[in-house]
Symmetry: none
Subunit: 217 residues, 4 copies
């Protein structure tokens, strides 16, 4: 059961860049707040076992605090997952928005999109896995954010079609679908052991595949 609201943009500004660097079991060094430690712990565990397999107890233990403490920072377990989601996806979206706002051609924009995405994956596999490769029980509850990246890409495609850079016969929703399928196929396979990392080494190949599949000039 997952219900409720997402954290606002202002709430979510935590330092998650070095999430993967945090050693498991220790409550973290310099300025690591308990709240951040809990988020990091949750993502770490979820990326390994799936969201459903992670208990409040295990998150608290991994963060080095008690269960009670967790409830000082998050009103419920669901809210914790949603906060975590919002924090990570927010960063991703801002990057993608930057691509659209730049003057890049559709082809160059796609290349940049893939590069950034795979850099993200290589830099923080656990957070990436959490937000993009795991099924989210609260998918509908999220709505806006959940589909934000897809909608950004649809905008890119439609602009390309208007400019004549992209095959005009393909519908934007399908283009987005195929794009996401290709984009995530590599991280997904690396996680499952079917492909050897890093993801960045496949960026060029995947860009070509997307360009060809969507008929980009």
């Amino acid at each position: 059961m997952v219900n409720g609201r997402l954290p606002s943009m202002t709430e979510r500004r935590l330092q998650l860049e070095d999430m993967a660097a945090e050693p498991s079991g220790g409550p973290g060094g310099r300025g690591a707040s308990t709240r951040d430690n809990l988020i990091r712990a949750a993502v770490r565990l979820a990326s390994g076992q799936g969201i459903d397999g992670v208990s409040v107890r295990s998150i608290a233990r991994e963060a080095g605090v008690t269960e009670g403490a967790l409830y000082k920072h998050f009103s419920s377990k669901d809210q914790l997952w949603r906060d975590v989601y919002g924090v990570i996806v927010g960063e991703m979206i801002e990057e993608k928005q930057g691509i659209l706002d730049s003057g890049l051609s559709t082809r160059e924009a796609i290349a940049e999109w893939v590069r950034l995405t795979y850099a993200h994956y290589d830099g923080n596999r656990e957070a990436f896995t959490y937000v993009l490769l795991l099924p989210h029980p609260f998918a509908e509850a999220i709505g806006e954010e959940y589909h934000a990246q897809g909608r950004l890409f649809e905008r890119l495609i439609r602009r390309g079609q208007r400019n004549g850079e992209v095959d005009g016969s393909i519908r934007a929703a399908l283009a987005r679908t195929l794009f996401v399928g290709l984009l995530l196929s590599v991280p997904s396979q690396i996680n499952e052991g079917g492909l050897k990392g890093p993801a960045s080494s496949y960026a060029e190949d995947v860009t070509h595949a997307i360009v060809r599949a969507l008929g980009v000039a």
Copy 2:
């Protein structure tokens, strides 16, 4: 935690074709065995909430029997999931093997593969979702079966490369990865509400995308 063995080929011959036809809540009509009802109930629930979210209690109730009865047919919850998996994936693999054994060209084979896959999805969305779109906690335990379809496709690609039908520069593992990404993107998006309609209506488009992405003649 999920461990153990998969059902053998001979054990798994149940009639699951009309799995989706079973009305929820009723113990099923004419010759529906309790075991089959349990399998159907399990798939139905898992496809809706994910595997982890389904309790033995809910499966039994959905099948119209008690929990004790379930354990007469499956030695554990894990074994139930694996039996279900084996039943469904077995059918799928046999179809795909048929494609390889026929004399179709690589391009025709891909078209047929997509057609069959989407027909399967449209015919039994729940079973398809269960085996192909849900993360399986027992992925490693399955091994063989789990990657069987991917390996079949790799064989198809390599044969095509030898024949000169497929771009020789792409590695088979990557080709398989991109293929699976494109193939499953449509059912996945339909489930998530981002795409409408029967998957079959996208078969041609997806086939084209695959052919172009992989450089098939």
Copy 3:
């Protein structure tokens, strides 16, 4: 919960002498009835794990039949345990009664009692363990039979005291208590690994100890 009646003398005449000879897992050879197989299986399992640890399912499986079949022969699990008890204890008591009826001196009678008891243990450790070394949840329900051997010994002691063969100052109930304690200490320790078998090799030592402890001439 253990309630009900003991089997009558006529019901209990089964051949249990070769109980230990029955190979586990097989439904038994020549004339082994299902009922006998069930009793043997029950004793075998109880002597290894204690009565409480034995399930109806395990008894049936060990006897090579289904659980339903067990209920054709015994009205309940409790009744099974009581029937088993009656069968074994009946044999033991008849032997001891024979000692009293013979013309042996108290000292010789004790020696014979110990010899017979330890022969019984060595010949069928499982049955002996079941009736004499395991706590019986239905002890009170048995009443008569449960204390029959003790009462026989009390009679022996009182007769000895009348004859002047036994120290007259010791009360019969205490004499019986000490006697049983000494008699069973050896089989009990062998079962627990504190003493090496066979019990018969200790018969003489234990006889001496009893004789001295009770002040028998």
Copy 4:
């Protein structure tokens, strides 16, 4: 199935002296910790029905808390039984060690041993029954502690044999076996209703019986 470790000497220092004084059903008075209440409840129930017959549910109810609370104090039901065992047996062993360290003659030491043992039984029948009269499913897992009292007595006997106080022909293992058999026969019979308590009233008689049975000067 019972596995795991025993509590260390330092862990086990609870006040169990007045274990029997705790009224059933009430959560206990002044400073009774939940953990102590649970231990007392467990012993109380086990001494009445045997260890196997006691459920976690019943222990929690008897202690006046929920099952969940029990698991805050004991990692499993098995560990609870072992903790309880360690607490009680630890006290008993220290007393017996004291006897060996004193300068008493073998005969006086035995008399003291019996006196202490029966005082223990009379003072806390339930705890005594739990540790000494009930079969322990985890007997092997305990090892050290389980046989500690027996080994202490063997030391006493061997010293007596060296001093010429004890019949040199009897082997120490057998002496220990007979001693334990005689010592426990009285509490055991009192529990079964064959003898009227208190056990202390039999201390002298049993001491004499032991002395005579083992040929102590």
